[in-house]
């Protein structure tokens, strides 16, 4: 029953958020600062995750494909496609569930238990819109940006690891990468990243907004927000794969 209660309240929250979308102007300041916090500040961790994912993928794939019958370019194709379709979006999604999700849940949770949300309401704000809309919108803009960062650095990391370890020459890697490159994959990956952005920000907003019980409540809300975001990212990943592929 708790699940349905939560889901209902979650939907209600989203409804309240879009209910006063006519006041977009007043969210602008928050929108910009959220884009900084969600996007700009997350770039380093996402780039780091991208580079290492690509490098590890490249090394492990070349370790697994030792057959003389399989051309080296296959490694480039596998690494590039995996990153563009799946890993750039999912790995950055999971990293950001921790970084962005936890931050949002803590922020809103603290605002809730220190009555800042009540203060917003008592001033005449639609606190849900004021807090949720800029965060979700910022994620719509910034998650594709982070996806691009993760994808390019991921492919770059894979290429670099192949060259440095001497497993895959650059020319072979690029040949494979380009041969199996489909523009649709980018659209697919980017769609994923936007969906993940929505999942992370909305769930974290929900958990933070309805936090209760002081500092411990905020902690619980943050943990729940991160865990739920990760679970729903993986679920959404599966759903999107079924729907779009």
């Amino acid at each position: 029953m708790q699940v349905f209660y939560d889901f209902g309240r979650y939907c209600q929250l989203l409804y309240q958020a879009i209910r006063s979308s006519s006041e977009l102007k007043s969210y602008y300041r928050n929108f910009v600062s959220e884009m900084i916090k969600t996007g700009y500040d997350s770039l380093p961790i996402v780039i780091l995750a991208g580079v290492f994912t690509g490098a590890v993928l490249s090394i492990q794939t070349s370790y697994q494909l030792v057959s003389a019958l399989i051309p080296k370019s296959t490694i480039g194709a596998i690494v590039t496609q995996s990153i563009i379709i799946e890993l750039a979006a999912v790995i950055s999604g999971l990293v950001l569930a921790g970084r962005v999700g936890a931050r949002i849940a803590t922020e809103l949770g603290t605002m809730r238990v220190s009555e800042q949300i009540d203060a917003l309401e008592s001033m005449g704000f639609n606190s849900v819109s004021f807090l949720v809309v800029p965060r979700v919108l910022a994620s719509f803009v910034m998650f594709p940006v982070l996806y691009i960062a993760a994808a390019t650095t991921g492919v770059g990391g894979g290429l670099l690891a192949g060259i440095v370890t001497g497993q895959v020459p650059a020319a072979d890697f690029l040949l494979g990468a380009r041969t199996f490159f489909l523009p649709w994959d980018i659209i697919f990956g980017m769609t994923k990243s936007i969906v993940f952005g929505f999942i992370i920000t909305s769930i974290s907003c929900y958990k933070g907004y309805y936090a209760s019980g002081g500092a411990e409540g905020v902690g619980t809300a943050t943990t729940n927000a991160t865990v739920l975001s990760c679970i729903f990212i993986l679920l959404a990943d599966l759903m999107l794969a079924i729907i779009l592929l």
């Binding site: 922020e107 605002m111 009555e115 800042q116 009540d118 008592s122 001033m123 005449g124 704000f125």
Partner: protein, 244 residues
């Protein structure tokens, strides 16, 4: 004029209070007193519909605020200033910006007008030199006063104080009390104060309402309160006096 009629509230199976009815004339100050956890703050949060009751109405100039549309309710809410227990300052922005916050979103004032008004309000709460300090750098008393400045910045008709003096030293408490009296007298603001500090009740309030045993146990003027023979009210008042 705020009127509360037959208000009942419970959280799940726990009844907070029921059948509460009282009214506050314009320009007067009402103190809601009672033990910790008796639902004083909850009652106050019903006054500007931050919480919804199970039964009953709150009439603001004769209009039930729970029947207002969300847009109208938010307009009505701007007639209230609310000083929260922990001041509830937005910790992501500076003290100055906290006071300027409502002005930026709800008025079309220009930057210099906003600055002028904010400084005016800060001066009223004796914090003219607060500058661009972040909220984390402020002491408890200063936070309360910044919160107060933020509450009056839109020139409200009603001011709601939730435990304005709790956790403060007696001297700072007195300062806050003086401010409340000052606003009430000079700005003609109707004030409702939630407190369990009888000392400040005697100083600032015209009316008192005593919440006890899950109902509005007693209410009347402060003069009547001191002479009342209500048993539990007397013991509550005396307990406070011992503290002093």
């Amino acid at each position: 004029m705020i009127e509360v009629k037959n208000l009942s509230k419970s959280f799940g199976d726990n009844l907070v209070w029921k059948d509460v009815s009282l009214s506050v004339p314009n320009g007067e100050t009402l103190a809601i007193i009672g033990k910790s956890g008796c639902g004083k703050s909850v009652l106050m949060k019903h006054l500007n519909a931050l919480m919804k009751p199970d039964e009953g109405v709150v009439l603001l100039d004769g209009q039930n605020i729970f029947e207002l549309s969300y847009v109208d309710l938010r307009i009505q809410r701007q007639r209230f200033g609310f000083l929260f227990q922990g001041a509830a300052l937005f910790d992501s922005i500076s003290a100055f910006e906290n006071v300027a916050f409502p002005l930026r979103y709800f008025t079309k004032k220009k930057e210099d007008e906003i600055r002028k008004r904010v400084l005016e309000c800060l001066e009223m709460v004796n914090l003219a030199d607060i500058g661009d300090k972040s909220t984390a750098e402020l002491s408890g008393g200063m936070r309360k006063r910044v919160g107060l400045a933020r509450a009056i910045v839109l020139e409200p008709d009603y001011l709601l104080y939730d435990e304005p003096t709790s956790g403060l030293d007696p001297e700072t408490s007195n300062e806050i009390n003086e401010l409340i009296v000052h606003f009430s007298d000079n700005l003609n603001i109707t004030s409702i104060v939630v407190t369990h500090d009888m000392h400040s009740v005697l100083e600032i309030a015209d009316y008192a309402a005593f919440l006890d045993e899950q109902k509005l146990s007693w209410h009347g003027t402060v003069q009547e309160m001191t002479k009342s023979d209500h048993k539990r009210l007397n013991s509550f008042i005396r307990a406070s006096e011992y503290q002093i």
